[in-house]
Amino acid sequence: MPDVQSMVLEFVNKLRKRKIEGSQATARCTVELLKSVVSHHRLPRANQASALIDAVRGVGAQLVAANPVELAVGNVVRRVLHIIREEDLSLATAAVSELDFNGEGMSAAVVAAAARSTLRPPSLQTLLEGTTESATVPYTFSSGVDSESKTADKSSITQKLKDDVRGGIDQLIKDITDCHEQIAEQAIEHIHQNEVILTLGNSRTVLEFLCAAKEKKRSFRVFVAEGAPRYQGHVLAKELVARGLQTTVITDSAVFAMISRVNMVIIGAHAVMANGGVIGPVGVNMAALAAKKHAVPFVVLAGSHKLCPLYPHNPEVLLNELRSPCELLDFGEFSDCLDSGSPLVQVVNPTFDYVPPSLVSLVITDTGGHNPSYMYRLIADYYSADDLVM
């Protein structure tokens, strides 16, 4: 346990000091940390799942507090919580079916349906399954397991829950690692011959996406808006050129002028909110508005770890981070304008932009392309309603 504690501290420290950048890297670190939390946590006899959930939640709260702007941390924590709940549920279902075998008179199907309904908000699908009595079935799986475990082999069940959760987390790690490829596979369906693509800022997902299309012998041109003041676009342009793509670098302010020649805008998201709104590098909203004006499709690429179950109007959600003005101004030159007394010059250097769902044409995740209005449904698949507030 102490080594886990120190790992948590170390990671919290890195998050605090803004040493990890990029949602994918953060997500991977988070999930790996949570995996070791799960495997090192000593489970009590009773309420194993809730003990595990509490442990993960405790660590998760620390991580989220360390850098609230990095939404991927919270997302991954909630995904892990969801995995724990689901594994617990499936164990419970197995146990109940055993009970059923002993003749306690409750069908496994009913229990499973009831369980599903507690995990997921009511949807048309569950309603249509027509298990009307599901709502009345008491939800006592963990305790059920406990009462049963008196007779069963305790240690094996403990191990089982942990192993299952670990398996689930491994799957999640794999998802996060592979999200680029998953998304890039779909490139061929979206990028066509002789098209012009506009992108802004630097995103690994976008890079892989474009390169995948290139590999499939599509020939197209890419406009890269440089993404002032951090000029991440320059980095992207360099990599694109290295992979043999025809690239044009433009200033951010030229986006509107160029948009009429563009067939599609593709950007990588920092996070996709539950309402389908997108948080991306600063300047993205401007590009989205320009695209809307010229009826150019605005496509957002996001791995599933970027789907955030929160709504942007939630006051708890920090959508932006203001960085140092030194990226815009030279301190030496401006030091006399920043005079004490009352400084007349103010420098605002936000990192992110919010694009409302009405401007987004398509969100491509590793499971395929979706309309922004469908996001809430995807999110319901990945997260439990209980975990939304941590």
């Binding site: 605090r16 000091k17 803004r18 301190f331 004490s340 400084p343």
Partner: protein, 720 residues
């Protein structure tokens, strides 16, 4: 640069050794000054809050994220407070990757003492293995250190004498900016533009000029002189620095003594290099004005990620809103209260109806009444401000109570737990404390207070009782002493306070700058002193042997001052003697220089005719012959004076040439010049060119008379 290359084998050994070294830092948690009095009598400077986070946390958080693994915190005054604070913060794991060790010493009264103490300690324990970063506990920065340390090590490997790398940052060059931003004097640095070696470091208290040693010009092909640099007080040092301090036990100040020693006296050929940081931020909180400036910079996010909305060292993060307003989530703010741009409001603070807060920092747990105006001020924790108070550009420490209707004028500092009486107006720039002003201006004082800190609390409570009963300097229901501004420091008050510089002072500075400019234009650049133009890259090498020129000017300056201020002859002699020693001159040179100065004065004194000029000259000679006479005891020196005079008449002061004979006679009459000298001069000149003989001819009659007189004397003697 005459780098001393070592053998290849050694170098590879070194790299292995250095990769294993831990990155270490020494943090001086005491500034050894009294600029933050009276606040620092009760709490060490490094624990004072900057935007509601103690200063030392900024330094530690930065050191940690810059990759430093171990830091030695040197505590002196209030060491228990500092160690306690570090103890709790290490329990909270604020800096998990940083090993914080404390070193306590109560005898140190300067940075030099501190380093000597550390040296002694470390010879026993040898904790400091290699290069280390030396900072003070009031540094706010976000610069990366890894590159700097690597750069230093590589240079050290090539050149063993490169013992230190200091960090400088570009800031606006005008002295006004410097004044208004950091309250520091102008800094001149001379740097070799290629190697970045520091050649000269001078803090100018007066204004705009810098003197460079000409040897510096001789030995370096190019020198860059900058006056737009800010010294960040971040140094990477090799262990030699510690031993240098140990060897030179009189070194006190890191810059004043140490730099002067290394650069000026050329100790063992050690060198200091500079490193200019680009976009990163680095500054030091040196006085109240820089406290204000650095706080503003933090609010403006130049120090990102060390800003109030980021939890960088266990602090509770605030929420950032529009226009740089940082507010805690539980602030109770009245609907009619207005928290304006660039403000910070801490946890548990309440702001009453109609309050106005602008450009200010308000700490945790404060209670601010109705219709209070707070502008450009720093209110620390648990302060109670009652209705209708006005606070402008002030610092208000923990636990202060300001009763209804009181006004704090700009520049006021209220120390801990002071109570300002109802409706009382605290005059501008006053410093108020519960402790009485110490009589002795000495840094020891802080230590004494610290030592007896256990007793302080009791004394304070007793004091407040006593004062409440009889009223105080802060109104009938106030508690606290207003400190008197000590003599001479009055001028500094406005410079170092948090209040903006008053209009008239600003005007003065601007005026001074303009004067400087015009002076530069009118005076043809006679002086070889390098008037520092902005960034002037000076590559010309001064005429060697011009020491005499410098000396002459110095003597002239001294003489003129003596005349103006009516200094006694004996004192003048003392001054000129000291000049003579420092420039290593003969007394003949002194005589020449003094005489030159006298004649120049005569010429410069307004006169309408030659007659008047000659009268001027003779009166000056009469008055100051004591001074000149001190250096013309021998014939050789007297001849030197005459030669000098001749030279002057030919070159610089042609007006005097018709008066040569007259003045020579005056000199003779006043017994400055003996006849032997004049005769020998005449003999020497007899063989010279015609052109040189002009003056000889002019005073032929006089010489003739002298010769006759001497002959007569001889005859008389013979007759006797």
């Amino acid at each position: 640069m005459g780098a001393q290359k070592k053998g290849g084998a050694r170098v590879s050994d070194d790299t292995e050794e250095q990769t294993r070294q831990r990155l270490q830092a020494i943090l001086l948690a005491d500034s050894f000054t009294t600029k933050f009095r009276p606040v620092t009598l009760e709490r060490p400077k490094v624990l004072l809050p900057l935007a509601n986070v103690p200063m030392i946390d900024y330094t530690l958080a930065w050191l940690e994220s810059a990759g430093i693994e171990e830091v030695f915190v040197f505590c002196c005054a209030h060491s228990t407070q500092i160690t306690d604070y570090l103890q709790t913060s290490s329990e909270q794991q604020s800096h998990p990757n940083l090993l914080v060790r404390t070193i306590e010493s109560h005898r140190s009264i300067s940075a030099g003492d501190a380093l000597r103490y550390i040296y002694e300690q470390q010879t026993e324990t040898s904790q400091i293995q290699g290069d280390f970063v030396l900072v003070s506990g009031d540094t706010v920065s976000n610069m990366p250190l890894a590159d700097l340390i690597r750069e230093h090590r590589e240079r050290k490997k090539k050149d063993e004498k490169a013992i230190m790398t200091m960090v400088i940052k570009k800031s606006k060059p005008s002295p006004m900016t410097r004044q208004s931003r950091l309250g520091t004097d102008e800094l001149f640095v001379a740097v070799d533009p290629v190697t970045k070696q520091l050649l000269h470091y001078e803090v100018d208290h007066v204004r705009g000029s810098v003197c460079l040693d000409k040897a510096l010009m001789e030995s370096n092909p190019s020198v860059m002189i900058c006056n737009d640099m800010q010294d960040c007080y971040i140094d990477v040092c090799s262990p030699e620095v510690l031993s240098l301090f140990e060897d030179n036990f009189d070194y006190q100040h890191l810059r004043r003594d140490f730099f002067k020693g290394v650069l000026g006296d050329d100790i063992m050929g050690y060198k200091i290099f500079t490193h200019e940081i680009g976009s990163s931020y680095a500054s030091r909180v040196d006085n109240f004005r820089s406290y204000d400036t650095v706080s503003k910079d933090i609010i403006q996010r130049w120090t990102y990620p060390y800003v109030p909305d980021v939890n960088f060292s266990g602090n509770r993060p605030l929420k950032v809103g529009r226009q740089g307003v940082y507010k805690a989530s539980d602030v109770v703010q009245s609907r009619s209260a207005d928290v304006g741009a660039c403000s910070v409001v801490g946890y548990g603070t309440k702001i009453g109806n109609g309050g106005r807060v602008l450009n200010s920092v308000i700490g945790n747990g404060c209670c601010i009444g109705a219709d209070v105006v707070i502008e450009g001020s720093y209110v620390w924790d648990n302060v109670v401000i009652e209705d209708g108070c006005e606070i402008r550009n002030a610092i208000v420490c923990d636990g202060v109570r300001i009763r209804a209707g009181a006004v704090l004028q700009p520049g006021v500092v209220l120390s801990f737990k002071v109570v300002v009486g109802r409706g009382f107006v605290v005059p501008a720039y006053s410093k108020v404390s519960l402790l009485q002003q110490p009589m002795k201006e000495d840094s020891d004082e802080e230590l004494e207070y610290a030592d007896s800190s256990s007793g302080t609390a009791d004394r304070l409570s007793g004091l407040s009782l006593e004062m409440e009963s009889k009223g105080s300097e802060l109104g009938p229901d106030g508690v606290g002493y207003i400190w008197e501004v000590c003599e001479g420091a009055h001028d500094e008050e406005w410079k170092h306070s948090v209040a903006p510089i008053p209009e008239d002072k600003l005007a003065e500075i601007i005026q001074a700058m303009e004067d400087d400019d015009t002076e530069d234009e009118i005076v043809p650049r006679k002086s070889e002193e390098l008037k520092s133009d902005v960034d002037s890259v000076n590559t010309d090498v001064n005429d060697p042997g011009d020491d005499y020129g410098y000396f002459e000017r110095e003597v002239e300056g001294t003489f003129l001052r003596a005349v103006e201020e009516g200094i006694k002859v004996e004192l003048g002699i003392l001054e000129i003697n000291s000049l003579r020693l420092s420039y290593n001159m003969e007394s003949a040179d002194c005589a020449g220089a003094i005489f030159y100065a006298m004649m120049k004065l005569a010429v410069d004194t307004p006169h309408s005719s030659l007659r008047e000029l000659s009268e001027n000259a003779s009166s000056i000679i009469a008055k100051w012959k004591g001074l000149l006479g001190n250096y013309v005891k021998h014939t050789d020196e007297q001849i030197e004076v005459i030669m000098k005079f001749e030279e002057m008449c030919q070159e610089t002061a042609r007006e005097l040439s018709p008066l040569f004979a007259q003045i020579l006679q005056v000199l003779y009459d006043k017994e400055v010049v003996q006849e032997d000298a004049i005769l020998r001069w005449a003999e020497e000149k007899a063989g010279a060119d015609e052109a040189d003989k002009v003056y000889l001819q002019q005073c032929e009659a006089f010489i003739q008379w002298l010769k006759e007189a001497s002959e007569e004397e001889d005859e008389e003697e013979e007759e006797d």
